[in-house]
């Protein structure tokens, strides 16, 4: 790509923390503004360009009426990048997918529940084809910049496919299992520089599972370290609900979700 590529940011169901992280990455890489031409970024600008090559989509698709605008972005953009866990995996929003949604709506909106349109939250890739994803809740600003560089080079961005433990060990953190807690590090995709274990908290899986995770045996490790079945499930469904439910469906021979 020789000319400055035009890029646009869109957001669906999310906290906009990933876009905020994009703004933050300017603090470290002001030259980003030289490298790309941002034509749409509602959180930060009023100009609304409609002519763009790369669309970054933040947020999950969580109601039927989100689908048309998402498809419209796909029509326009040469490349669609899922920005952050909500777009990449469905993210935190998918916690509710394990509940009865009618009941969830009533719980939150009482007798006005029917005013609000919703369905199980899903990643953007369940609605349209996405060309790349930047995982994480929120995204890692260095990874965002790495991805932009790959796109500028005309290359498909590549995610690390090794587990978090690799990065965690290289940082010489005390393994949380040795500190008496538990961690999803062995089955979760690295790339965040093991920021959570580094700050003393267990990996919650916001970057998604590695290819071929040995979940069965990790569950045994969790049990060995005193987690109940409920606690294990809670751990596995903070960010990974959509992936886990897909695997359950596949495991039970049920058809994959429609999208």
């Amino acid at each position: 790509m020789s000319a400055k590529p035009k890029i646009a940011f869109y957001e669906f169901t999310s906290c906009e923390g990933c876009q905020l992280t994009v703004v933050d990455s300017l603090q470290l890489y002001p030259e980003l503004l030289e490298a790309v031409d941002i034509v749409r970024f509602r959180e930060a600008m009023s100009e609304m360009g409609d002519d763009y090559a790369i669309a970054f989509i933040e947020g999950s698709c969580s109601r039927p009426s989100d689908e048309a605008p998402i498809k419209a972005i796909r029509e326009k953009a040469a490349l669609v990048v899922a920005l952050g866990a909500c777009a990449h995996l469905g993210g935190i929003n998918t916690i509710r997918n394990r509940h009865d949604l009618g009941e969830v709506r009533r719980f939150v909106y009482g007798d006005k529940a029917e005013w609000y349109d919703t369905y199980p939250a899903r990643p953007i890739s369940a609605v349209i084809k996405v060309d790349a994803a930047i995982p994480g809740c929120p995204i890692d600003r260095h990874e965002f910049v790495r991805t932009v560089k790959r796109l500028l080079q005309g290359r498909a961005p590549e995610l690390p496919d090794h587990p978090l433990c690799v990065e965690c060990k290289l940082k010489e953190n005390v393994c949380l299992y040795l500190r008496g807690t538990t961690c999803l590090g062995p089955i979760v995709r690295a790339g965040c520089d093991a920021i959570c274990p580094t700050y003393g908290d267990s990996c919650e899986g916001c970057r998604g599972l590695v290819p071929n995770p040995n979940i069965e045996h990790l569950k045994e490790v969790l049990t060995e370290h005193g987690l109940s079945v409920d606690q294990t499930l809670a751990k596995m469904t903070q960010f990974l609900t959509y992936q886990v439910m897909e695997m359950e469906a596949a495991g039970h021979g049920d058809p994959q979700p429609a999208h």
Partner: protein, 430 residues
């Protein structure tokens, strides 16, 4: 010459967090409709918390909002701690306050420089500003970076903090880190002064409408965490009585709930805090207020941004003080305080950048069974609409784009965080 008919339909206000639309309908000079519509997807956070281990609450609710994530996490932790009888250590309280200043600075700088300043300088965003006034943009980025680094040193990162947990922290900055942050905060003073200077020059629109102001208040400090709920109309209530202040109800055009207290609506946020807690501001912040021309009680909502600038001065100075205190005390790697019980109900409240935030949990056997979060922007929505209803009739002789801009700037002045505000609800505790 009055405009007999006017239709304004701003589809997705820009430079605010989340999705909101402004709809104004004037027929024959009569204001028929004047709404701020919240079209954000409902996210059902309260429902998502149910059945999950209490330790996850602060991490899940920090995902309500990427901008005031530290605020949500803190309010959530305070609610859980109150429910489970956890009294955090003095060091924890100090670190949380310092962390809060980091977030307050980050958010206010973002709002003042990147979201509001473009309006005042007549451009659409900071991007053209980066060309026309690079020193202003670089200053903002520089200050924001320090705010972010402050949070990162304490809790790993500002958006969705990591090291904050029930009863304390799981990671601590080193003495050297604190010392370095302190030096950098001191070195930032000229940037803070330049910010005050910038906002003494920029002209914010004139518009007065007296309303009720609500903020947290505590003796001896400019309160951001805990305290009591104070109203400019007089009186204060303990945090556990937050429902008597918020009185939530739903309206059709919004996925966010509305609130009212003594009057039809009230305002929370920097301006409300300024009006209620002015006496507790750092002296330098008081001088900054004088320089900008702010004196309580301020009733022009556009000046919320100016109040934020005053808070930038306060927070950076108080952060320096907190660093000094922490360095002097010496930091210890404390284990988080363990809960005294695994069941109970608790309320946590913080004054986050956009105003007062409440979290309220019921916990049984370590699992959350009921949750309620009331977000500042939700409390402000009725007040914004009240302002709009007062403002539009005074402007009917202007051109529609001018009216639209004035309305957009008004909404933006509140620094609304619309994605946050769709998480409130009336909760049935089971």
């Amino acid at each position: 010459m009055a405009t007999p008919n006017l239709r304004i339909d701003v589809h997705h206000v820009t430079r605010v967090e989340g999705h909101g639309n402004i709809v104004v309908d004037v027929q024959n000079g009569q204001l028929k409709q004047c709404d701020l519509e919240i079209v954000e997807t409902p996210r059902f956070f309260e429902a998502m918390l149910r059945g999950r281990p209490y330790g996850e609450s602060s991490h899940i609710t920090s995902r309500i909002c990427g901008i005031c994530a530290v605020g949500h996490a803190t309010a959530s932790l305070r609610a859980t701690e109150n429910a489970l009888g956890v009294v955090p250590s003095e060091q924890t309280v100090l670190l949380r306050k310092l962390n809060f200043h980091g977030e307050m600075l980050d958010s206010h700088i973002l709002h003042a420089y990147m979201l509001v300043a473009p309006d005042l300088l007549g451009v659409g965003s900071v991007i053209p500003l980066a060309k026309s006034a690079p020193e202003v943009v670089l200053r903002a980025l520089r200050m924001k970076k320090l705010a972010g680094d402050l949070c990162a040193a304490l809790c790993g990162r500002h958006t969705h903090p990591i090291a904050m947990t029930v009863g304390g922290f799981t990671h601590f900055p080193s003495r050297e880190q604190l010392g370095e942050l302190r030096e950098r905060l001191i070195a930032m003073r000229p940037d803070v002064e330049a910010t005050v200077e910038l906002f003494t020059q920029l002209k914010l629109p004139a518009f007065e409408r007296d309303t009720e102001y609500v903020a947290l208040r505590a003796k001896g400090e400019y309160c951001y965490i805990d305290g009591e709920i104070a109203s400019s109309d007089g009186g204060a209530l303990p945090l556990t009585d937050y429902r008597k202040v918020t009185n939530e109800h739903l309206v059709r055009h919004s996925s966010a709930k509305r609130t009212h207290h003594m009057r039809e609506s009230y305002m929370v946020g920097a301006l409300a805090r300024f009006n209620i807690n002015f006496d507790e501001l750092h002296p330098k912040a008081k001088s900054a207020a004088a320089a900008i021309g702010l004196k309580p009680k301020v009733t022009n909502p556009y000046l919320n941004t100016a109040a934020q600038v005053v808070e930038i001065v306060h927070c950076s100075e108080d952060a320096i003080r907190l660093c000094d205190v922490l360095i002097k005390r010496g930091l210890t790697w404390e284990e988080p305080v363990k809960p005294a019980r695994l069941s109970g109900e608790g309320v946590g409240a913080c004054d986050v950048p956009r105003g007062t935030l409440f979290h309220n949990y019921v916990i049984a056997d370590g699992l959350v069974t009921g949750a309620n979060c009331i977000i500042p922007t939700g409390q402000n929505l009725s007040n914004i609409e009240g302002d709009m209803r007062a403002l539009v009739p005074t402007m009917l002789d202007r051109k529609p784009p001018e009216i639209t801009l004035a309305l957009e700037m008004l909404v933006r002045a509140y620094d609304p965080c619309i994605s946050c505000s769709t998480h409130m609800l009336n909760v049935r505790f089971e």
